[in-house]
């Protein structure tokens, strides 16, 4: 009996915590489907429902904003197709109150916000840039990390420990420390405002090297001895023994790298200026300034910008969470 009570309490807490974690996302989604008017009026928090007044002017109906009713008369703004106050009519128009009706549509989802937001600034370009940069960076990271980790895990050479600690010490230095000097250096290379600046400096990842090294070290020595007897070259051992046995860890590193590139912000913000080169996060930050009052469009843009990563996450959530847990514990 006591056990059932404890379990119920545990689930209750977990549900409350879970709700707190997810509420911003739910709100983002629901707000992204409202009209701006609905959001401003703030009477439909989670379920988009539209309410507006119409004025029946003979045969035609106009969307209007009801300002006030004075007995039998109603003061209205007549709206045009864009939702702005129409210029065809006087700003404060008085009509008989019975000609104005409240229309309630419930629930109504305004998916057109997504189209509007997507077309307002060149999000297609931003997406293309982000995908391009993420994938090329991923390829670079995998190649450099596999090679370096192989040397650290399986080969003997002079200065191995020294180089290893050099790598280790650089891993702990945060990006803001060297972003200014990197900017100056990339300026000297004439790389500012090019894809080079976004890709090449990130084609190496010390953490991935360590992740791979750990895994390569754990492979049984017998495999390599046998291959050596068969006359397999050093490079052959990497491609024929190690890589086929490392699919899991490579997939883990790939996901970390993709999420990292997709979400990186400060570097591309500083290193690029041309709109054609903007990655998604930088584009979104400009959109945040340009459309600061258009809440529903901002929410729509936020939603579609996190969607690709969320889809990857939901498809492989079990493996992704396990990878983060494992990588975090290793030290």
């Amino acid at each position: 009996m006591r056990n059932t009570l404890t379990t119920t309490l545990i689930y209750l807490f977990l549900i409350i915590f879970g709700f707190t974690m997810i509420v911003p996302f739910i709100w983002m989604l629901s707000t992204s489907l409202m009209t701006q008017n609905e959001f401003n009026k703030n009477d439909s928090i989670f379920i988009p429902k539209e309410e507006y007044h119409v004025w029946k002017d003979g045969g035609t109906e106009h969307k209007v904003v009801l300002v006030e009713t004075k007995g039998q008369r109603a003061v209205i703004h007549v709206l045009d197709a864009e939702g702005q106050i129409s210029k065809e009519y006087e700003e404060y128009k008085e009509v008989p109150a019975k000609e104005v009706k409240l229309i309630r549509k419930k629930p109504s989802f305004h998916f057109e916000n997504y189209v509007k937001a997507f077309n307002k600034v060149p999000f297609a370009t931003y997406f293309a840039n982000t995908i391009f940069v993420s994938i090329v960076t991923l390829a670079g990271v995998l190649v450099t990390s596999v090679l370096a980790a192989y040397a650290f895990a399986r080969l003997d050479f002079k200065g191995k420990d020294f180089i290893f600690y050099l790598f280790l010490s650089m891993m702990m230095v945060p990006e803001p420390i060297y972003i200014i000097s990197s900017y100056i250096m990339l300026d000297k290379f004439n790389w500012l405002d090019t894809y080079n600046a976004l890709i090449i400096p990130w084609c190496v990842n010390i953490f991935t090297i360590f992740l791979f090294r750990q895994h390569f070290k754990s492979l049984p020595q017998e495999l390599f001895d046998a291959a050596s007897i068969d006359g397999c070259s050093t490079f052959g051992m990497l491609t024929r023994i190690i890589l086929p046995l490392s699919k899991g860890v490579i997939a883990t590193a790939a996901v970390f790298s993709l999420i990292g590139s997709w979400n990186s912000f400060m570097w591309p913000l500083v290193m690029t200026d041309r709109p054609e080169l903007r990655v998604l996060q930088v584009g979104l930050s400009y959109f945040n300034q340009e459309a600061s009052t258009q809440t529903t469009l901002l929410m729509a843009a936020s939603t579609f910008s996190i969607l690709p990563i969320l889809i990857i996450f939901f498809i492989a959530q079990k493996q992704i969470i396990a990878s983060y847990a494992k990588a975090g514990l290793k030290d």
Binding site: P176, I180, V204
Partner: protein, 310 residues
């Protein structure tokens, strides 16, 4: 054959080593060098010794951003340790839906800071924001949130009718709003790390304690907390370092670190001096100070860890 063997390992290392030297090692060293020069947009000006540093130490804005950052670290880091440990402890007790909860908790961690900053900025907006709507449901006064420069302690005591001196005000409500969002973003990751730490603790300890008649709460403080301490040190170190680097939230959610500079954090300060005011030597000096602080804290935590070793 012999020479080939000797060179070969370095060839494997070469791509990573070259990139690291060029894009990490040299820039880190350059940061030090630049901090001693007057530096315009493109080129070295004159060498000026510690002038950038003495200017920095005399700058009230620099100290304010250091203080703001310190508040963020002092509040966000303990919250990011205690809450995840509780979440993980609860998650560890259940089987059914455990994966579902983990997924939900982890979601904020994988989504982009820029996008969730937009969402939280709107949550905290004065009109029609979710935060104020919830306060109204609870029958409380709406707040200015991100636009509120007054300290949280000032507001708290004010609501009880007590006025406290300005220096006791604490971080502004604006900064506190940023802290709430920052903690929310990182909770899932720390929870997962704690959960795998908890699963590594042998059940035998708890069984022995149960036989000795120790209650659940006692077991938590006497067994779980000490045995999980290596994980706690890892979480402490990572969260501290990440908190010191907070940037995107400030850039997205505030007006240049406002109101009244109360949300200006040190990395935003570096960004502003370096890339807005183009005073790169000066900004580098601030970056070096940040580097020293982070390095110092890392070493301190390492020492503490070796002392409190179970």
């Amino acid at each position: 054959m012999k020479t080939k063997r000797k060179i070969e390992p370095y060839l494997y290392l070469l791509p990573a080593l070259l990139l690291l030297l060029l894009f990490r090692f040299i820039p880190i060293i350059m940061s030090f060098v630049i901090s001693f020069f007057k530096f315009g947009v493109t080129d070295f000006g004159e060498f000026q010794g510690f002038a950038n540093y003495s200017r920095l130490f005399a700058d009230k804005e620099f100290w304010q951003s250091m203080m703001n950052t310190l508040w963020l670290v002092l509040i966000a880091v303990p919250a990011s340790i205690v809450l995840p440990l509780i979440f993980a402890q609860l998650l560890n007790q259940i089987k059914w839906l455990s994966g579902f909860f983990r997924t939900i908790y982890f979601m904020p961690f994988v989504t982009s800071l820029v996008a969730v900053s937009i969402v939280w900025k709107i949550i905290f907006s004065e009109q029609a924001g979710l935060a104020n709507t919830i306060l109204q449901w609870l029958g409380m006064k709406p707040q200015l949130w991100l636009a509120e420069p007054r300290g949280i302690f000032t507001l708290l005591f004010e609501s009880m009718g007590v006025t406290i001196p300005a220096w006791m005000g604490g971080p502004s409500l604006a900064l506190f709003s940023i802290i709430i969002m920052t903690v929310w973003k990182g909770l899932g990751y720390n929870t997962i790390i704690y959960l795998s730490g908890l699963q590594n603790i042998s059940k035998a300890y708890y069984e022995a304690a149960s036989i000795d008649g120790a209650g659940k709460l006692r077991q938590f403080f006497k067994i779980t907390v000490p045995l999980i301490s290596p994980t706690t040190f890892y979480v402490l170190l990572m969260t501290t370092i990440v908190s010191f680097q907070t940037f995107a939230q400030i850039y997205m959610m505030t007006d240049k670190g406002g109101p009244l500079g109360t949300t200006k954090l040190i990395v935003y300060y570096i960004y502003e001096k370096g890339f807005d005011k183009l005073d790169m030597g000066y900004a580098s000096a601030a970056a070096i100070i940040l580097f020293i602080v982070i390095l110092g804290l890392t070493l301190l935590q390492r020492r503490l860890e070796s002392k409190v070793n179970y």
